[in-house]
């Protein structure tokens, strides 16, 4: 079984996988017990599985584990905790920008990567940045508000 070394939420880790094509999603959830990242479609269509690799928002369901070797992966658990949330998480909490919350991981990770590139987005830019992330509960207006709030934090 091959072993793949990468950085995960700031520390060096090594993951074993019998299949180099195993998506990062399952490695994060099952090897590292990081359940914040969610399976939504396995097709790269919904964004629920978004993580950051080297600071960029990436669909972990479409990312082979062997391609992650040597890179830096950040998951939602790596941003902050309920008692010490990062600014994006804090803004989502302040706006109560969740219903079922299943899309929230992807929304926050996409927004965090977006805000790292665009420090003062307009609401329209914030909306556009989330065009690839689906929310079935219809929480979009609060989510967009949260992204704008996070930018001001």
């Amino acid at each position: 079984m091959a072993s793949y070394g990468f950085r995960l939420n700031g520390r060096g880790v090594s993951a074993e996988s019998w299949d180099p094509a195993q998506p990062l999603l399952y490695v994060l959830r099952n090897t590292f017990n990081l359940h914040g990242v969610k399976f939504g479609c396995g097709l790269g269509q919904c964004g629920a599985c978004t993580v950051m690799i080297d600071g960029k928002a990436v669909r972990s369901c479409q990312t082979r584990v062997d391609r992650v070797a040597g890179h830096a992966v950040t998951t939602i658990e790596g941003l902050g905790t309920a008692s010490a949330p990062d600014r994006v998480q804090a803004a989502f909490i302040a706006e109560q920008a969740a219903q079922c919350g299943y899309c929230t991981n992807g929304m926050i990770m996409t927004a965090a990567a977006f805000l790292a590139q665009t420090s003062k987005p307009t609401p329209e830019q914030a909306k556009q940045s989330l065009a690839g992330n689906l929310c079935r509960c219809g929480t979009y207006t609060r989510i967009v508000r949260a992204v704008v709030r996070a930018a001001r934090a």
Partner: protein, 747 residues
């Protein structure tokens, strides 16, 4: 102590120690060091906590530290039910909502209050808890009276203490009853706190689950694991009704640990490694019989009209509608159609089951855990007393999605192989195999008098029939296990008549024998399509009378609560009073317009009005919704921010359904199976939503998970008509359909 779900699971054992006087060991938390998920196995009390809704202890546990655990059979599916029920209990008990922990939907701990549906989470679930808390309040006052040597009438409860109204030392409720049973029945006459004195109900207290959801720590059923658990994937047939002819197990031999499980035509793979299970499900070579049993979705409206009718049923008969219409000064008729739609949960359903010794535990996101337990026991030959269904959050379900089916998959697999099994569905299976909201075909006719008032109204609706019995579970059918084959999609005939003062009205239902696909309740069952038809047609009548849409409705309403939601909506929206369509609309440019719709939910509950502004591109047919205003009256408001979140969600989700959604299928299978073939609303299409809450503290509270969905499609269609002069009567309003309609002037 409102705590997040993960903390709750960690604390699960400790939370019910209050009931463990006789068998403390039975309540100890399962303790695998550091394993949060294992701690979620809250053991079911054998002879401890009661579940009978007649007893206070079924709903409430008082702890020595002054905290209280509330147990409810209703579940929070992202709706804010947990905080709202906690607020209702806290208000009666004179404690802060932060002192309450809520456990929902665990059949081993929570009383059966019926499934979570029909917007009954607070009206039944919350109200039962409130009455138990009001009963407990009287008992606490009596205990305090003894302790303080004062008359109970001289005491109150505040800040977690029973204390004299006129001041002086109090006694903490934890010291009066903590960790002991109340052992009293719920008193249906126990006095409730006067709404004028409320300090907790009515406050926008933050939901306890949101911080955990925003930091990746909230435990969904997808995240729950057990020691020794196998990951499974079920392979559904390529056609509805196809049977399994043969399986070549050698096709998955190269995949580590993969094992094939077959029971009749029920086919699955299991493996210790989830990715191995997924690869094996894809690689498994299986032969299935051919099946062509479906009518196909093309022309399903015509199929529905021509289908065999089981029976006709008049659900509303007021005066003589046909005669009134025949004698009217002006008559109108139109046909509306709403297609089959999917719950389309963002995360496919998942369940974990550990079945042994004729019972066991199922972890499920079902909206009806008690009902699921009864059905699983019956179908799979398990002892209901030994079977426990524990609710864990799923992806939003909006009714009965694939959750009950996946629970059955997990039970059958665990029972068959004798190990705990986790089964998540694929995206394609969730979108294809979740039970669907039914197609609805409506013929409307109405007559206006010379003054433009409605004198007669006739609605005829074609709906798939309701057959008693539980919905058949896919796993059991595939395995050849006898079971019920009930059919039902909820109360789908409601709101088929106008909410206006029409003296003559009839709603006639033609119950169609066959359903094209398995059906279930999908948010606001039936009402969304019925109000779409009724309120679009009302707009057509206003146009025929050459009267402004708001004025037309106002003139035929007497109920002040109805008038208030319409007036407040029109005022906030800046409604320009004039008949539709907008005369200034010029061909070729982007066309803008506004529409309004009103309804009273189930003709007996919430009052909702929605005004909408749209821009339509006549070249592409694309509709942009630019602004929405909604005034909402659900009586007493428990938590205004959580309520607004629900209303916003109702509106955006129904815009999605109205603009984009239709289940497609051929003769063999559903062909809308992912987000490309079953698209939903995106962030870029989401308008600003301005919600006006009308809080009526003197009125009973009403549920709010559904009502604001109902007027959305009509407000949208009415706005498109105002913009374009084209009336859209078929959902979804896809760009192609709108473009074609603008070309020929109707749809």
């Amino acid at each position: 102590m409102i705590i997040d779900r993960r903390d709750l699971l960690k604390a699960g054992g400790a939370l019910i120690v209050g009931f463990s006087f006789r068998s403390a060991s039975a309540f100890a938390a399962s303790t695998l060091p550091g394993d949060v998920d294992a701690a979620a196995q809250r053991p079911a009390p054998a002879n401890g906590k009661p579940l009978d809704p007649a007893e206070v202890d079924s709903f409430l546990a008082f702890h020595a530290d002054g905290t209280v655990t509330v147990y409810t059979g209703k579940v929070d599916v992202g709706t804010g039910l947990r905080i709202a029920v906690a607020q209702m209990a806290a208000e009666e008990l004179g404690i802060g909502a932060d002192r309450i922990t809520l456990v929902d939907g665990d059949t081993g701990l929570c009383p059966d209050q019926g499934g979570t549906g029909g917007s009954t989470g607070l009206t039944r679930g919350g109200a039962d808890v409130r009455q138990a808390a009001a009963t407990a309040r009287q008992a606490l006052l009596a205990l305090g009276a003894t302790r303080l040597n004062r008359a109970a009438s001289e005491l109150t409860i505040a800040g977690g203490e029973v204390r004299p109204i006129d001041g002086g030392n109090g006694v903490p409720i934890g010291s009066l009853i903590g960790d002991r049973r109340m052992a009293i029945n719920v008193d249906p006459k126990a006095p409730l706190r006067a709404p004028a004195t409320y300090t907790t109900v009515g406050q926008p207290i933050a939901r306890p689950d949101v911080p955990a959801k925003c930091t990746g720590r909230h435990v969904y059923v997808h995240d729950f694991t057990l020691p020794g658990m196998l990951h499974a994937r079920v392979i559904r047939p390529p056609a509805v009704g196809a049977t399994l002819v043969s399986v070549d197990e050698s096709s998955v031999r190269a995949i580590p640990g993969a094992r094939v499980v077959r029971v009749g035509s029920f086919l699955a793979v299991v493996a210790a490694d989830e990715w191995a299970a997924i690869r094996a499900a894809g690689a498994l070579a299986a032969k299935w019989s051919d099946a062509q049993t479906l009518p196909g979705s093309d022309g399903l409206d015509r199929w529905t009209r021509a289908a065999a009718i089981e029976r006709d049923q008049a659900v509303v008969t007021r005066g003589d509608a046909p005669a009134a219409i025949a004698g009217a000064a002006k008559t109108l008729a139109a046909t509306y159609y709403w297609p089959l739609q999917s719950h389309a949960s963002l995360g496919p359903c998942c369940a974990v089951a550990d079945i042994k010794d004729g019972g066991g535990t199922v972890w499920s996101s079902s909206q009806g855990t008690h009902g699921l337990r009864a059905n699983l026991s019956r179908v799979f030959g398990l002892d209901p007393a030994k079977l426990r269904v524990v609710f864990l959050d799923g992806s939003g379900s909006y009714g009965t999605n694939g959750g009950d089916h996946v629970a059955a998959d997990a039970v059958l697999l665990s029972k068959t192989i004798g190990q705990p099994v986790r089964v998540p569905w694929s995206r394609q299976d969730e979108t294809a195999w979740d039970p669907k909201g039914p197609q609805q075909l409506l013929d409307l006719r109405a007559g206006l008098d010379a003054g433009g008032a409605i004198v007669g109204w006739d609605t005829q609706m074609w709906l798939p029939t309701q057959t008693p019995g539980a919905r058949a579970l896919l796993a059991a059918d595939a395995a050849g296990i006898a079971q019920d084959h009930g059919q039902g999609a909820g109360a789908i005939t409601q709101n088929g008549d106008p909410p206006y003062t029409a003296a003559n009205a009839r709603v006639l239902v033609h119950w169609v024998k066959e359903a094209p696909l398995q059906l279930s309740n999908l948010r606001a069952p039936g009402k969304i399509a019925n109000v779409f038809a009724v309120e679009s047609f009302t707009d057509e009548l206003a146009v025929a009378a050459n009267v402004d849409a708001v004025a037309f409705r106002r003139a035929q309403l007497a109920d002040p609560r109805a008038l208030e939601v319409i007036n407040r909506t029109a005022e906030r929206f800046g409604w320009d009073t004039r008949p539709s369509p907008r005369r200034s609309a010029s061909k070729g440019a982007r066309l803008t317009g506004r529409g309004i719709a009103y309804m009273r939910y189930k003709q007996a509950e919430n009052y909702v009005a929605i005004a909408m502004e749209v821009a339509v591109d006549p070249q592409s047919g694309a509709i942009s919704v630019t602004r929405v205003v909604c005034a909402h009256d659900c009586g007493l408001v428990v938590n205004p921010d959580a309520l607004k979140n629900q209303i916003e969600g109702c509106i955006l989700q129904t815009l999605s359904r109205a603009l984009h959604e239709e289940v497609t299928f051929d003769r063999a299978r559903v062909t809308s199976v992912d987000w490309a073939s079953y698209p939903i609303l995106r962030a870029t299409e989401a308008p600003d939503v301005d919600v006006i809450l009308i809080d009526r503290r003197d009125q009973p509270l009403l549920g709010a998970g559904e009502a604001a969905t109902a007027p959305v499609a009509a407000a949208l269609g009415n706005a498109v008509f105002d913009a374009t002069g084209v009336r859209l009567r078929t959902i979804p309003f896809t760009a192609e359909r709108v473009k074609a309609a603008i070309g020929v002037g109707t749809a």
